[in-house]
Symmetry: C2
Subunit: 371 residues, 2 copies
């Protein structure tokens, strides 16, 4: 029965004695949103109303409630899954989403990553080590500067060079010209070094706008794009990934919040489910405060066996340094991409050397893990 | 100088002595996202880096920081405003957005409501009283039931009859058939009573999907649609409202969170800025917990003079009853729409009478306010 339902685990910040009552109100809020006694159709009561499957008091005084939602209320719309999971309850201060699972047919409809870890490794020709990623900063720069950065990073051997997520269509570096120049810089570096690198331009606006951005980028040879699903809406990510089955999507956590939807559920599971091939998340020990266990859970969910979906590539980021590469690879393993931005750029005229040191540190770490 | 910048007020949950340092880190995070000493171009340091305009310690131990963002980083993209305002900082637990203002040219680009309060009154022919709104529930119902509800509500004199926000394209009542049947029921009721009512179907999916949904709805005579900007992305609302200058947009707060972006800023200002003609928000005293002052601030921002934008119609909702109508109209005044859903439906076979009582209570309240 529950096999055809979506299971969501919520944390209830209410006294344990009140847990079951609160969970029942939550189940109504996230489904029929009206008093059950006013429902006229038995089928709605039997199938459509969300059900409280269990409520367990926790040592910290909260309760965990597992509520099952009818998959028919979601259809195959990613936005609708967010809406039915947390739309109204997000407005209430005592509820958080901790975890979720979807039935296999729904997972198949969303489809997960187009390429996943294996596909990204294949187009990069990098099979036996963690991957490296950096960002083109700062916003406000001109195109010549960004293209030069691209070239330096690519010659140093960085795998994925992405736009900073603040890039859209700013006058200092409009999207069309920026993509042309940066992709050309990558290609020229590749011709010189014989190594592949990928440039990931940042998408902005709506689904229709992003469709045009991807077509433009594809015409220049772009194979991966940066997208912030919580800014543009998760349905937009999912629609694009279905329309563009050979394109890779690098998901940025912007506007993802801190905890109302637990990061392992949002970044670990939902972003992957909707089509992120790689998922950027704030690593512990940097300038963000996600605890180590939360980061580990995000990475674990990105790579777990889950309804046959391809694995997403966990991409820890946020105030990291070349000196931490060995530790990060030791912690997350080889199926990881390390994203370091500002800490490379601070080298200024020695940026190329610093980027090479980053690439070398990740290679050495992979060898150490293997040894 | 600040006239061309976006001003955002953040609450910093750090010791007062640490406020200025935290605000400076925040300003970097929300703009160049790299160490300023690594920036090569003076123009970027002068214009693009966000600036801390002031930091004030508060009696509650937090600090309020006003940070000005460069408008050039946003362009005219609504998603990009959310991103630059709170993209990365939303991932940090010690920052909340309290308030914002945008320069007049940016407000003009986003454009605000197409119709606003006056336009909605005009198409409804209701000029001297608060408006009434109800919802078609529960999801899972069939089309015949929903159309019958529509007819009952319209004959009772309810102004706006909206889909429950859980409606998408479910098999029990697919969008195309639902819109046709519900709009027909409204039109038939209107022909019988001589009064106008509006049916607001719920949009789902992406910008491209919503464009098709609006075209279909428009062909049936629909003049207002329901949209959840935090689910579909605010850029989608803004793009649709620019493309459809005679369509009204009723914004739903789903996935809007409880406080990381203060509801008066999000629902009061941003939703209006991006084009919501009416803004649904959880009223105090119902099943949501927004305090009375927060609700008052949402309504005040919806209707305040602001860069010449049309006023949005505050629409308190969430567990309200016919018995509270007088109190609600007394509190919010006539330029308000009251949304009552479940509390009408619970009347079951007496739904028409209950809906008439709702309409009459709002009329009587308006007369009392005028007296």
């Amino acid at each position: 029965m529950t096999a055809e339902r979506i299971l969501v685990t919520y944390r209830l910040h209410v006294p344990a004695a009140d847990g079951l009552r609160r969970a029942r109100l939550l189940a109504i809020e996230q489904s029929i949103e009206m008093p059950p006694e006013a429902v006229l159709e038995q089928r709605v009561l039997d199938d459509v109303v969300a059900r409280v499957e269990r409520v367990d008091a926790q040592p910290d005084g909260t309760s965990l409630a597992v509520v099952s939602l009818s998959a028919e209320t979601v259809g195959d719309d990613a936005g609708q899954l967010m809406n039915m999971m947390f739309g109204n309850s997000s407005l209430q201060p005592d509820i958080e989403v901790v975890d979720l699972d979807v039935p296999a047919p729904l997972a198949a409809q969303f489809g997960g990553p187009n390429l996943g870890i294996e596909g990204l490794r294949r187009i990069l020709g990098a099979h036996d080590r963690a991957l490296t990623c950096t960002a083109l900063k700062p916003i406000g720069s001109g195109i010549a500067h960004l293209a030069a950065l691209c070239g330096s990073f690519a010659r140093a051997g960085v795998d994925v060079i992405k736009d900073d997520h603040g890039w859209a269509d700013q006058a200092s570096a409009p999207f069309a010209q920026r993509v042309a120049a940066c992709q050309r810089a990558i290609a020229q570096a590749g011709a010189a070094t014989g190594r592949s690198a990928l440039y990931a331009p940042s998408l902005y606006g709506t689904h229709s706008q992003m469709q045009r951005q991807i077509e433009l980028a594809r015409a220049h040879g772009v194979k991966i794009v940066l997208i912030a699903p919580m800014v543009c809406g998760v349905a937009t990510l999912n629609a694009l990934k279905r329309e563009q089955p050979d394109m890779a999507f690098l998901a940025h956590p912007a506007l993802g919040g801190n905890a109302r939807i637990a990061p392992p559920a949002l970044l670990g599971k939902l972003f992957r489910l909707f089509g992120a091939d790689a998922v950027i998340f704030p690593n512990h020990g940097g300038r963000f405060t996600y605890p180590r266990a939360v980061c580990a859970a995000i990475a674990a969910h990105n790579r777990a066996d889950w309804h046959g979906l391809r694995c997403a590539l966990p991409t820890p980021a946020g105030g990291m340094s070349v000196e931490r590469c060995a530790e990060i690879v030791a912690e997350y393993g080889r199926d990881t991409m390390l994203l370091i931005g500002g800490s490379l750029l601070i080298a200024r005229e020695h940026l190329g050397e610093r980027a090479s040191a980053f690439v070398e540190a990740v290679r050495a770490a992979a060898a150490a893990v293997a040894a």
